[in-house]
């Protein structure tokens, strides 16, 4: 046979083989195809067997074409085999539109206050603090007097108080909604001995007209550390660590003088604004580059003494912060009233 005829024959074979391969949709028919086209006794082999009878020139040409066709058919066969294996794994199921939504499961959300309280507690628990809680309805004695805030002291103006409709034997209003978690400092020191390292989260109340930044009900987290050898340096170190845990390790802190009657010296801690990175000032930090997040101080010796601790032996520090304010800063919430008006569209975002 002449070389040209054989080339035609090979090309026809290739075309037929590919059509036949498309139609082979089972393992068996694929195997049949392999034997009849590219097997040792298959059509392609039998054509190529005729090579030795050709002229050297035709042999070279046909050899090269024959190899290309062989490679193509073998590759196509491998592909067909692979796709057949794949479809075999569907177990005969129709394929699905995987972009359709999945079957719902229902997961609730913790209130953002719960979440931030846990974050704050976890930070301090990691530093050896124990979490304790106390009553929300308190005596004046614990909320004020034992904290070096006697009756008719002007510092009482710092806490507008909701009083319970109750009078003691002296005809004085003596029961109140706690205005801060600080009364627990007194209760804890009254009931236990140093060393103390405690954290008190809880609800507090104030007689306060509500607006975007003021609520009559809010939470506070109080901290108290009392032991021998506790210094202002420890106060700074502990609260710096806390700021880094909550707001990021590259946070800077700043302490300034502030006044709370139950501490001396008293301080206010600010962190550098995480919203405007280079301290240029923005809405979050009101243009100052700093955000005040908590009040703190060394426990006033008058408080220690009033509770039977010897202030020349024991020193301590205390601090307090508003978790809602911290949540507002973290999540960019601009109205504190959203927290306890219970709109699920707000709550379920966290």
């Amino acid at each position: 046979m002449a070389g040209n005829d054989l080339i035609e024959e090979i090309k026809a074979l290739e075309q037929n083989a590919l059509i036949a391969l498309d139609e082979a949709q089972s393992k068996e028919s694929l195997e049949e195809w392999r034997i009849s086209y590219i097997g040792r006794k298959g059509a392609l082999t039998s054509i190529l067997r005729q090579l030795p009878s050709l002229t050297p020139e035709d042999r070279r040409l046909l050899g090269s074409i024959g190899n290309k066709v062989k490679t193509n058919l073998e590759q196509s066969f491998a592909n067909a085999e692979q796709s057949l294996t794949k479809s075999a794994n569907t177990n005969g199921n129709p394929s699905v539109d995987v972009t359709m939504p999945g079957r719902q499961i229902s997961i609730g959300k913790l209130h953002p206050t719960t979440q931030i309280l846990r974050e704050i507690c976890d930070a301090f628990v990691g530093m050896g603090f124990q979490v304790v809680e106390g009553p929300e309805v308190e005596w004046d004695h614990y909320n004020f007097e034992k904290l070096n805030i006697p009756k008719d002291h002007p510092a009482r103006d710092m806490w507008d108080t909701l009083w319970i409709d109750y009078e003691n034997d002296n005809r004085e209003k003596s029961m109140l909604m706690r205005t801060h978690t600080s009364p627990m400092q007194v209760r804890i020191m009254e009931n236990s001995q140093p060393p103390l390292r405690v954290l008190v989260p809880g609800k507090c109340y104030r007689y306060e007209a509500t607006d975007a930044t003021h609520e009559s009900q809010f939470y506070q987290v109080e901290g108290l550390v009392v032991d021998q050898g506790i210094t202002f340096a420890n106060l700074k170190g502990t609260l710096y660590e806390f700021a880094r845990l909550l707001f990021g390790t590259d946070r800077k802190v700043r302490f300034r003088v502030d006044y709370f009657p139950f501490v001396e010296p008293g301080a206010e801690m600010a962190i550098d604004c995480f919203s405007c990175s280079n301290g240029e000032g923005c809405r979050v930090c009101k243009g100052t580059g700093w955000i005040e997040i908590l009040g703190a101080g060394m426990v006033n010796p008058k408080v220690l003494e009033g509770l039977g601790y010897d202030p020349s032996i024991y020193t301590g520090f205390a601090f307090g912060m508003g978790p809602e304010r911290i949540a507002m800063l973290k999540y960019g919430i601009d109205d504190i009233r959203l927290f306890y008006s219970n709109d699920v569209r707000f709550l379920s975002q966290f």
């Binding site: 939504p101 719902q104 499961i105 229902s106 609730g108 959300k109 206050t113 050896g128 124990q130 979490v131 304790v132 809680e133 009553p135 929300e136 309805v137 308190e138 009756k151 002007p154 710092m158 909701l162 009083w163 319970i164 409709d165 909604m177 140093p194 060393p195 390292r197 609800k203 007689y207 306060e208 009559s216 009900q217 506790i230 210094t231 202002f232 340096a233 420890n234 700074k236 170190g237 502990t238 710096y240 700043r254 302490f255 300034r256 003088v257 502030d258 006044y259 009657p261 001396e264 010296p265 301080a267 060394m298 010796p301 927290f339 306890y340 008006s341 219970n342 709109d343 699920v344 379920s348």
Partner: protein
């Protein structure tokens, strides 16, 4: 307090910009809330009111002609205090003024007011941003030069200070200047106080008697004759205006000026009105009445303190003067008072009479008696200088109890103990001296320190340590972690359990809410069965009737939350709250009990392409509780409940170890209606967490060995009386020793059964830990169970 920078500069050199000074003051405890730049008004000029005419179309408006030097302009003015000859601040069109209504700034435009065109206006203090007074126009001193821009006259930098109650000394310009001096290392320039006196002893005219030295520890007074009462010079009025005070006349202005300067309130009496030349400092009598300077008659009672003459009260001590002894233009002899009144009594009096004055807000914070004499001399000096007059020689100085405090010891050891700071004694000394403290004695490690007369807040060593710390700067103090061992910890079972419950609720698909603990009486009435008595704790001073009572149940909280949200999202809602209820106890703090409450209503799932959702019911609520109990390893009993809040036959009481710990059920329509909820059913569960925690097993959980032998399942369909509860059947089946568990898997109620009966089908797992059960053993067990069931509850096998 508004403190003008120009005024501060009288006492201390300030050579850095206002922002840095404000920052330093803030860091050291005197917080500068805002730095105000007064001025920037543009076209506002000093003018003189030349003529006032009536407005043709309005009774309360007038037409005012103002000379502003270059021109005379006529504008409409509604201020009640405008008068011919006054110097005023006149804004031309284009001036930039505050709008008291919007709070923002606006450019003044020509306006037509009741038909008369007005090109400009006469400004109030508030419109100029100089204070809060908008009741009338700002009247400038008579010597204000007509035509100059107001900017040149009243422009300044003003620090608005947010002071803490321990520092009344900073309620004075000198006090703030002292802080600046200490921070910047400058010296204070004290104002002049040297006046000349006549050879006319004050004792010849005036006698002072303090009846109760515990309420007035010092009373000083001077007497000045031939005083000419009139307007104050510009430098005084300008400063008063900038500090937010309205000038009145030179003598009164000087008492206010010295109060702002030193922080010591003073009072000036017209001496002619003082009967018999006698001043008696005494408690008010019962039913005593007194008319204060503001024209209000006050009812006094002891121990309110009054200044009286021989006949009557002439001032409410430390709070406000009396109308009867007020300075007038006819006054010629002035009695100036500078006294020290008891802080607590002043505060109590001002609170019970509801008068807060610049004076009372200083006295109530506690002032030292030494301050009174300094301020008296300064005021006497200024009155002589400005209003003329002859000062009587001597002053009255009643100082019955001179309680000079002992010096306070400060050791280097204590500085180290509190601040963790090593400091040299010389450094501590120089810091304290820069703040005006005097050192009585000093050694290598200890100082004996006496605070200056203006500092009433220093009475213990650690107060001195704060002074050291704030001058070093808190940010420059050492910083270190706590190095003492972590104290022993006792696990808080209740708290741990509560937090676990919170997590379980959320993983059951419930959204957490937190409500107000304070509620209205109406809410409590709506959520309490009428059969129960309601005895909630009431606030004495509620913000409103909506938050007047402490809640005694959680139901109203959760239903209000549900109702609110159903108005927003009309879909399925699953919410829960863990909160406290407050139960009254006689003469004790209330019982605060922690309660879990949950509410479920509407679609179980929102509609989607996979399934059409059905509505949630009591069994969704119960399922969540059962999941919860399983996790907590408690197994309470559910029993039918008659709680009237729920629909009859649709509620269960939950009992655990013989105690009622909660309930679950579908709410009655009546209660849904009062809470404006129109979706039903609403399923509620409620658990007393305090009781649950107390009863639950606190010991560590021990695992149950898994049987090595296979179990086998058998189904048992029974027909039984409707009244027999499924939990009874389950309990009877599980009583057999070969039964591992019995699970209800089908309920049939229908025509095929005899009326009053139903069919319950249980899948029973038989298993033994002794060996594989044979078919015979299982069949025998099944027969035993059936006969027990038949015997005890009349159940028969359903074929």
């Amino acid at each position: 307090m508004r403190t003008p920078l120009s005024w501060l500069k009288q006492y201390v050199d300030i050579d850095v910009d206002p922002e840095s000074i404000a920052h330093e003051l803030t860091m050291a405890g005197t917080e500068v809330g805002t730095i105000e730049q007064t001025g920037g008004w543009g076209k506002v000029f000093v003018g003189e009111v030349k003529e006032i005419n009536i407005h043709p179309n309005a009774d309360r408006l007038r037409l005012v002609s103002v000379d502003i030097g270059s021109d005379i302009l006529t504008v409409v003015c509604g201020a009640p205090n405008v008068a011919e000859g006054q110097k005023i601040a006149f804004a031309k069109v284009g001036a930039i003024l505050n709008n008291p209504h919007s709070g923002g700034q606006e450019t003044l435009k020509t306006a037509k007011i009741r038909g008369v065109e007005s090109s400009g206006m006469v400004c109030s203090e508030e419109e100029l941003g100089l204070g809060n007074d908008s009741s009338g126009i700002l009247v400038l001193p008579d010597d204000a030069p007509i035509g100059i821009p107001l900017e040149n006259y009243l422009g300044d930098t003003i620090f608005d200070l947010e002071l803490t109650p321990n520092r009344p000394d900073c309620m004075s310009v000198i006090g703030v200047a002292r802080e600046i001096a200490a921070i910047t290392g400058k010296k204070i320039k004290d104002p002049d106080t040297n006046y000349t006196t006549e050879n006319d002893p004050i004792e010849a005219h005036l006698e002072v008697n303090i009846e109760d030295p515990s309420l007035c520890s010092r009373y000083t007074a001077s007497l000045i004759r031939d005083v000419v009462v009139g307007p104050s010079p510009t430098w005084i009025t300008e400063r008063l205006i900038k500090a937010g005070q309205r000038p009145i006349n030179n003598v009164v202005d000087i008492t206010n000026y010295v109060m702002l300067e030193y922080g010591q309130p003073l009072h000036a009496f017209d001496f002619r009105t003082i009967n018999s030349g006698k001043i008696i400092v005494r408690q008010a009598t019962e039913q005593e009445t007194f008319t204060t300077l503001d024209g209000t008659e006050r009812k006094l009672s002891p121990p309110m303190l009054v200044i009286a003459d021989s006949n009557r009260a002439v001032a409410l001590a430390g709070i406000m003067g009396g109308l009867n002894t007020e300075m007038t233009s006819e006054t010629t002899t002035v009695l100036v008072e500078a006294a020290t009144f008891n802080a607590v009594n002043t505060r109590k009096t001002s609170q019970s009479l509801r008068i807060r004055s610049e004076s009372s807000s200083r006295f109530e914070k506690g002032l030292k008696p030494e301050l009174a004499l300094v301020a008296l001399k300064r005021a006497t000096y200024l009155i002589q200088k400005i209003a003329g007059g002859k000062v009587c020689s001597n002053i009255i100085d009643k100082y019955p109890v001179n309680e000079e405090g002992a010096p306070i010891s400060l050791t280097l050891h204590r500085i180290k103990q509190v601040l963790g700071l090593d400091m040299k004694i010389g450094k501590a000394r120089s810091i304290l001296e820069s703040l005006g403290f005097s050192i009585n004695k000093s050694s290598t490690h200890e100082l004996l320190v006496k605070p200056p007369y203006w500092r009433s807040d220093i009475d213990q060593t650690d107060d001195l340590i704060e002074e050291i710390a704030r001058m070093v700067g808190y940010d420059n103090l050492p910083i270190s972690s706590i190095s003492t061992p972590i104290p022993n910890q006792t696990p808080d079972h209740n708290r741990n359990m509560r937090e676990k419950i919170r997590d379980l609720m959320v993983s059951s698909g419930m959204q957490e809410v937190i409500s107000y603990s304070l509620v209205s009486l109406k809410d409590l009435e709506k959520s309490t069965p009428s059969t129960e008595s309601l005895n909630p704790i009431r606030l004495a001073n509620p913000m409103s009737e909506h938050q007047e009572y402490l809640r005694t149940n959680m139901l109203s909280s959760i239903l209000n939350a549900l109702s609110y949200n159903l108005n927003q999202i009309r879909k399925g809602m699953k919410i829960f709250e863990i909160g406290r209820i407050y139960l009254q106890r006689k003469d004790q703090l209330p019982t605060e009990r922690e309660i879990l409450v949950g509410a479920l209503t509407g679609q179980r799932w929102s509609d989607d392409w996979l399934n059409n959702s059905t509505n949630m019911d009591i069994f969704d609520a119960k399922g969540i509780l059962e999941g919860l109990f399983g996790e907590l390893r408690v197994d309470p009993i559910f029993e039918p409940s008659n709680n009237p809040l729920f629909a009859a036959g649709n509620a269960a009481d939950i009992h655990y170890q013989g105690q009622h710990i909660g309930s679950v059920g579908s709410l009655h329509d009546d209660i849904l209606r009062v809470f404006d909820i129109d979706i039903k059913p609403v399923s509620i569960f409620e658990l007393d967490l305090d009781k649950l925690c107390k009863l639950s097993n606190k010991s560590m959980y021990k695992y149950e060995p898994i049987s090595r032998y296979p179990g086998s399942y058998k189904d048992l369909a029974l027909i039984l009386d409707n009244a027999t509860s499924s939990s009874t059947v389950k309990r009877l089946i599980e009583r057999h020793k070969l039964v591992h568990t019995a699970t209800l898997f089908d309920l049939y109620e229908g025509n095929e059964l005899e009326a009053g009966t139903r069919s319950l089908a249980y899948r029973i797992l038989f298993q033994s830990d002794k060996g594989t059960l044979t078919g015979e053993e299982i069949n025998k067990a099944l027969n035993d169970i059936l006969s027990t069931l038949n015997h005890q509850i009349g159940a028969i096998l359903r074929n």
